[in-house]
């Protein structure tokens, strides 16, 4: 479904050149839920924007069902971290959900159907006449997710969507996401800095190194399909996976790359400088 090949991104500033992403290659199959996790500043958001077509990579390409992504393609929806700023404040919830559908030239009945279904799927009732700023943060993010669902995308990209809500709301939204994912069979690429969240949600977890970013490991998560906050998070296997990812991220923060052991990392420091 989604093919990311050799993404390389360099930012040219005034006299400064920052290599944000060195080389990222991975695939996401149809209907998969893949999580991307890594240390802060490792270019997760940059990668997501390249995949979404919002940013052009310096090299490499992204393919959605074989078609190269050069601009935001149809069939892709994005949910941002700043839910308050991604909803149009001059439109009601219904207006916000309908706008992308109007762009798709859907008939009025079909739009109403999709909007109602999406709002019900995210557990929101009786809000379609409200304005976004009248709702709580968790509800606003649900509206953003509902808007993405109503759009009927093939791929859903989520950029740390639950980072800005409180812990209890985050737990609810995580479970909501898995429910919605299984119900609609949509492919999800989920970026987060929260290791627990990545392991809890994903079928695979891609661990990114720090900048200039490469993939450290592509880890399959062999937890059962039925997950819930209480039992899954206290399962031994969850703890093992979490610890493994945590170790990788810690190594990443210290500048490690894929496949290096801590011993190999120590060697460069022993070399004589100036060589």
């Amino acid at each position: 479904m989604l093919d990311v090949r050799g993404i390389h991104k360099v930012y040219e500033g005034r006299g400064r050149t920052v290599e944000a992403i060195r080389e990222l290659t991975f695939s996401v199959a149809g209907g998969e839920l893949v999580c991307l996790v890594g240390p802060s500043g490792c270019g997760k958001t940059t990668l997501l924007k390249c995949v979404a077509g919002l940013l052009t990579p310096t090299a490499g390409e992204v393919r959605l069902q074989g078609q190269v992504v050069s601009a935001p393609p149809p069939g892709m929806a994005v949910v941002f971290q700043e839910y308050g700023r991604s909803l149009f404040p001059w439109m009601t919830v219904r207006g916000n959900l309908e706008l992308p559908l109007k762009q798709k030239r859907l008939a009025r009945d079909r739009r109403a159907e999709l909007v109602a279904e999406a709002l019900a799927a995210v557990g929101l009732h009786d809000v379609d006449g409200a304005y976004p700023w009248q709702l709580s943060g968790g509800m606003q993010q649900r509206v953003a997710i509902a808007r993405a669902i109503a759009y009927e995308p093939q791929v859903l990209l989520m950029d740390e969507p639950f980072a800005a809500v409180d812990a209890q709301t985050r737990a609810e939204l995580e479970d909501l996401l898995r429910t919605v994912w299984r119900r609609f069979g949509v492919t999800i690429l989920f970026v987060t800095h929260d290791i627990d969240e990545a392991v809890y949600l994903g079928q695979r977890v891609l661990v990114l190194s720090s900048s200039p970013t490469v993939i450290m490991e592509d880890l399959p998560i062999d937890l059962p399909d039925e997950r819930d906050q209480l039992t899954t998070r206290s399962a031994p296997r969850f703890a093992e996976l979490r610890a493994h990812v945590y170790g990788l991220v810690q190594r990443a923060k210290q500048g490690g790359r894929a496949g290096e052991t801590p011993a190999a990392q120590a060697q460069p420091a022993e070399r004589i400088p100036g060589g």
Binding site: L54, P72, P74, V78, F80, R85, F88, L99, Q103, Y131
Partner: protein, 264 residues
């Protein structure tokens, strides 16, 4: 307090100071012998004779029509130029120096030039109004368009909201609070220019009539005209607020909610 009671209270507060001022002036000027400052009573007596007559149709109406045409044209022009300027830094860099040049010219100074270009008819007067009113709208539109939230912009791009739809739903609505600020300033300027445009080479109009009275030393009539001008300003301002209240209802509620006040 009931809704009627609240409205009555607000009306009382709004009218309180004007009525007080009128009362003080009435009493203070009652015995005035000055030629240039007649008693308020005399002025108000002439008001009805002068204005509640054919003059309403022959003078006041044409003035207001010219103001309406000039103002609306200025708003349309200001927004039409302001949007591309606000959207592109390159365009701004190229066009802004020229704009700054023309903006610095006071519209009254342009009147003789506009008479040469457009004659002495209605078109010239409308052009004077447009020339003065376009600037606040244009500059505020540029600011409003520049300040569109980048997250909202990316959201629109992701959902492939482009072209006319993007202009309508993202750019114009997002910039509308700022644009209305400019429109409010332009309205005040427009009323002033409406009078100034009629000072030279005119044959009808509210401003023209007031100047005529001034030149023929019909002082109470002149003062009554000035009072009418003030009333026109108040009424137009109220009308503007009513429109703004409808269009920007979402914005005022949003601000109230941010301040923690009830948004009703």
């Amino acid at each position: 307090m009931t809704a009627v009671g609240r409205l009555a209270r607000r009306a009382a507060l709004a009218l309180g100071l004007p009525l007080a001022i009128i009362a003080v002036l009435w009493v203070a000027s009652a015995d005035s012998q000055s030629f240039y400052l007649p008693p308020l009573r005399t002025v108000l007596e002439t008001f009805a004779d002068v204005w509640l007559s054919a003059r309403l149709i022959d003078d006041v109406l044409p003035s207001l029509l010219r103001l309406a045409v000039g103002y609306l044209a200025a708003v349309a022009l200001g927004v039409a130029i302001g949007v591309p300027l606000g959207a592109s830094r390159t365009v701004r860099g190229v066009v802004e120096p020229v704009l700054e040049f023309f903006r610095a010219i006071p519209p009254p100074v342009m009147v003789p030039i506009l008479i040469l270009i457009a004659g002495i008819g209605d078109i010239m007067k409308v052009l004077v109004i447009v020339f003065g009113c376009v600037w606040p709208v244009l500059l505020n539109t540029v600011e409003g368009v520049r300040a569109v939230d980048p997250v909202l912009d990316e959201t629109a791009r992701c959902y492939r909201i482009r072209g006319l739809a993007r202009l309508r739903h993202l750019v114009l609505r997002g910039a509308s609070p700022q644009i209305f600020t400019g429109m409010r300033q332009s309205l005040s300027i427009g009323i002033i220019l409406m009078v100034i445009s009629e000072m030279f080479a005119s044959s009808n109009g509210l401003g023209f009539t007031i100047i005529q009275f001034q030149r023929s030393f019909a002082i109470p009539e002149m003062w009554s005209g000035i009072i009418l001008l003030g009333l026109v300003g108040v009424l137009l301002s109220l009308a503007f607020r009513a429109v703004e209240g409808r269009v920007l209802a979402w914005y005022y509620s949003l601000r109230r909610s941010h301040r923690g006040e009830p948004t009703g």
